[in-house]
């Protein structure tokens, strides 16, 4: 698998997120309190809210628009809500972060 370097884990605050701009939209990269890193589309399955702007708790994020809670591991809405957002493989090598290239390319193609 090919990986694209997107920066360092230290670029993202703990319990926070940053975005990576891609041709088909933003991908939100999350860093949890215990330094797990996840990548999902920055687009809530409910009304398209920017998930990267939400409050990160455990391995989940609460959407800033209407408080849907999305699992960072599976991309699925938690609780009573139903919906799923695409997850993108992300690799941590030391401090450096890589996004899975093929996942992007396949979408771009």
């Amino acid at each position: 698998m090919n990986w694209i370097a997107i920066g360092s884990i230290t670029d993202i605050p703990r319990r926070g997120a940053r975005c990576v701009d891609t041709p088909e939209g933003k991908i939100a990269i999350f860093r949890t309190a215990d330094d797990q890193v996840y990548a999902i589309d920055d687009h809530c399955p409910h009304r398209g809210g920017p998930l990267s702007q939400g409050i990160v708790h455990g391995a989940a994020v609460t959407c800033p628009l209407h408080n849907w809670v999305i699992s960072l591991e599976t991309g699925k809405a938690l609780g009573a809500d139903e919906g799923v957002v695409r997850t993108i493989p992300v690799k941590v090598d030391g401090e450096r972060l890589f996004l899975a290239l093929e996942a992007l390319a396949s979408r771009a193609a």
């Binding site: 920066g7 605050p13 701009d21 041709p23 309190a33 708790h57 800033p64 390319a105």
Partner: protein, 816 residues
């Protein structure tokens, strides 16, 4: 045929006896109770939380009026029995009611000991015994500033903490060298004294009171060493003595208390005594556990079980002062045949001491961390040989045999006969058995069926853990609405504990208050962040990751993920230069929508997040600062043109509005705060539907609050009329600070006011100048740290990462 049972006194002991009796011999007796207090049976142990304001009287009632009706018991409230005629077998009350008896139970309790010094009968000298005393203290706390509590024992310290919580300046006088010397060794007494002093309560030990003096009421206390302490309220809490006078007059054998045998029977076989007035085997008792044991025995005897007998047992002592953990049990005096194990952790404020004899625990003092109290109590009760685990004994149950247990596992590991509720002598097996057998799902149910945690309540946490262990998710924890799914605590408890335990970070709150989740959720984190910002303005570092996005990026997120920006226009006043700057910004950044807000300022909508710092930079050049239109904080102060322009204006409403806004901007509040100032009662600024509003009148400024014009519509309440602009500002600031300190996160002022009560708010802000001043000063202090323009900070580079993408990935890279 039913026999007539008369009970003199309606405290906790006879109340419990009746419960047992109704269970063991229903219908055997026709019961009549005479209560000198004009009320039903309530939990006297919980008076301290009532005094500190943590509970209401209604919450501590054990048997409501309905209970007496249901069981066909006649209760004479406010009737004091003055005569027992043993020949005629009747009692007579001070209101002239006579009642014959077949069996009589005397439960007259105790009377507080009044130290024999001059002035001990002056108005302002109180004891701490019943609800009337508590009400008198709470009343005194309203208007009087200085209180002295004589007695540094359990009761005295609880009284002191309660009065302190009511806002009084409290000094404790204790005649011995260390506090609670009957329950604590000197080391623990010292730690306790330090903790008490940290709350702002002064402690004077070896204090020998010589006189209480004053002109018609208490003014000061004089000590034997010549020290003079000013005081307007004196509470005597130096001890109690059995109230046996009535029995003595009736010719019943009385020593220290009413002498009874192990069956609670006096020397008159038809007369029983129990509770604090009874003396059994030469001992009198004041803690609830032995009194309940007496109740059980007396009920059995009355039901015909003549074998029932009272057996002495040691009772653990706990102090009911929020934030002070203390446990003491048994005998801890030093002696040649005894060894001790001591653990001190000064940094954590923990002190533990076990006193051993022949490898068995005979006494325990725990301070700062009392979780193992139940386990040590169990080891002592069973006289377990501890030689095998001696090295790790003091570290508690979790260290015995392998890895430390979490609190839940520690409870799971307790044996079935381990005592959980000391007050009521309820063991683990009885609780779990009742939960399973009766299908109990709420704490109240468990209390009703087992009595566990139904008295002092300090074992509530243990009982709740047992419920979770037994029924898991079916446990329905709270009548209090918890903050969120991460905790069982409600907002008020969390706020109280943050202050009481001095918790200054979100991880500390979650650790100490046993959050269920590792890092909270989107509900509790912003709330905790606000509480910490409010309570520790100088110490706490704002946790941006716990703020909702609007407060993190200082703009309002819109449905398409863009933001809107509202600069401050003080009092709604602007000028050509400002308007020109806004117009330029709108052109430069191609801002699609410009809108005048309801709060008299201008909103620019549709700004891309990346552009925010540049927009702010340009606005800042023109002198604009953030309008906090996104904040749970002060938003706008809307004004009319007032006496400067309006022919009806009575005061400079515009000037006052601007002054308030400049004074209060930047402050965080539980929910948004919108204000307005109208220059006359025509009220063009619509001040009477705002969180806080002012209506100017000829004679001054009428301050309004608790209005709403959103989800709910509600006109304001009048706080009061003040004469000058300075006073208006002070009152408004104090009111806001009171709300900041007491409001629940996201609770608007009108909801908070409804919960607290308008009269109480008026009392604190309008009538109590000291309190108002103190609120005002705390607000001013916190503003030192709050009045920083967040926009200019970000223009200077703060939180850069917020406004830039981490990386951009093009097609070329993706295709490589």
């Amino acid at each position: 045929m039913t026999e007539k049972l008369v009970i003199i006194g309606n405290g906790m002991a006879p109340g419990r006896m009746l419960e047992h009796l109704l269970e063991k011999a229903p219908g055997r007796y026709q019961v009549t109770i005479f209560n000198a207090e004009p009320r039903v049976n309530y939990d006297r142990i919980m008076l301290s939380p009532v005094l500190s304001g943590e509970k209401d009287y209604e919450e501590i009632i054990i048997h409501g009026d309905g209970w007496y009706i249901k069981h066909e018991i006649t209760l004479y409230k406010g009737h004091k029995i003055v005569v027992i005629d043993r020949q005629a077998k009747t009692v007579t009350s001070d209101h002239g009611v006579s009642e014959p008896y077949d069996k009589l139970v005397i439960a007259t309790g105790s009377v507080p000991f009044i130290i024999p010094v001059p002035g001990n009968n002056l108005p302002g000298v109180l004891t701490y015994r019943d609800l009337d005393d508590v009400r008198a203290m709470m009343l005194a706390a309203q208007s009087r500033a200085k209180a002295v509590v004589i007695g540094g024992g359990l009761l005295g310290l609880e009284a002191a903490a309660g009065l302190n919580a009511q806002g009084m300046d409290v000094t404790v006088l204790h005649v011995m060298p260390t506090l609670m010397e009957r329950q604590l060794d000197p080391a623990a007494g010292y730690l306790l004294q330090r903790a008490v002093e940290e709350r702002g309560i002064k402690v004077i030990t070896k204090a020998n009171t010589q006189a209480i003096t004053g002109n018609g009421k208490v003014e000061q206390i004089e000590l034997a060493d010549g020290t003079i302490i000013p005081a307007t309220l004196v509470v005597m809490a130096v001890g109690i003595r059995p109230n046996a006078a009535l029995a003595k007059e009736a010719g019943i054998a009385v020593n220290r208390g009413i002498v009874v045998d192990a069956g609670m029977r006096s020397n008159d076989p038809d007369i029983f005594a129990l509770g604090e007035c009874a003396e059994v085997n030469g001992m009198v008792y004041g803690l609830v556990a032995p009194l309940y044991e007496m109740a059980r025995v007396a009920a059995s005897q009355l039901a015909g079980d003549e074998a029932a007998a009272f057996v002495h047992s040691d009772t653990p002592t706990k102090l009911k002062v929020t934030g002070i953990e203390l446990f003491s049990l048994g005998d801890f005096a030093e002696g040649e045949d005894r060894q001790e194990i001591v653990l001190r952790d000064a940094a954590a404020g923990v002190y533990k001491r076990l006193v051993l004899r022949d490898d068995r625990i005979i006494g325990t003092v725990l301070y700062g961390e009392t979780g193992d109290g139940a386990w040590f109590n169990d080891l002592k009760k069973k006289q377990t040989d501890i030689s095998e685990m001696r090295d790790t004994l003091i570290f508690g149950q979790s260290y015995q045999g392998g890895a430390p247990l979490d609190p839940m596992a520690a409870v799971a590991a307790l044996p079935d006969d381990a005592e959980i509720c000391g007050c009521n002598g309820v063991c683990k097996g009885k609780i779990t058995g009742a939960i399973t057998a009766k299908g109990l799902t709420s704490l109240d149910d468990v209390r009703a069926h087992t009595k566990a945690s139904a008295s002092c309540g300090s074992c509530t946490g243990l009982v709740e853990k047992l419920m979770v262990l037994t029924i898991g998710d079916k446990y329905n924890p709270a009548t209090v609405q918890p903050m969120c799914g991460c905790t069982t605590l409600g907002h008020d408890e969390v706020r109280r504990l943050i202050k009481a335990k001095g918790l200054k970070t979100i991880p500390a709150v979650m650790q100490e208050l046993e959050w269920i989740t590792s890092c909270g959720c989107a509900k509790c984190r912003p709330a905790l962040n606000y509480y910490l910002v409010c309570d520790w303005p100088d110490d706490y570092a704002d946790d941006y990751q716990s703020r909702f996005v609007n407060e993190r990026v200082h703009a309002n997120i819109q449905k398409d993920g863009t933001y809107s920006v509202v600069p401050r226009m003080w009092g709604g006043v602007t000028n050509a230069a400002e308007l020109r700057a806004i117009a330029d910004v709108v052109d430069k950044f191609e801002i699609p929508m410009v809108k005048v807000t309801g709060g008299q300022r201008i909103d620019m909508l549709g700004i891309r997040k990346e552009d925010l710092p540049a927009v702010w930079a340009d606005l800042g050049q023109a002198g604009f600062v953030s309008g906090h239109a996104y904040a749970k904080g002060l938003r706008t102060v809307k004004t009319c043109v007032g006496s400067d322009w309006c022919r009806f204006g009575t005061q400079d409403s515009t000037g006052l509005g601007i002054r308030i806004e400049k004074f209060m901007w930047g402050s965080w509040t539980p929910a948004k705060v919108k204000m307005a100032v109208s220059g006359c009662p025509r009220n063009c600024a619509e001040a009477t539907c705002k969180d806080v509003g002012v209506i100017c009148v000829d004679s001054g400024y009428e301050i309004h609050f608790a209005g709403a014009a959103g989800l709910d519509i509600k006109g304001t309440e009048v706080l009061g009329l003040v004469k000058t602009e300075d006073e208006a500002l002070e009152h408004i600031v104090a009111l806001t600070q009171m709300y900041r300190e007491q409001g629940r996160y996201l609770e608007r002022i009108y909801k908070w006011a409804k919960r607290i009560g308008i009269p109480e708010i008026k009392r604190q802000i309008m009538d109590d100048a000291d309190k108002r001043k103190a609120y005002y000063e705390r607000f001013v202090f916190s503003q030192k740290f709050a009045q920083v323009d967040p926009w200019s900070e970000r223009v200077s580079g703060k939180d850069k990462h917020e406004f830039r993408p981490m990386a951009s990935v093009g097609f070329a890279e993706a295709a490589e």
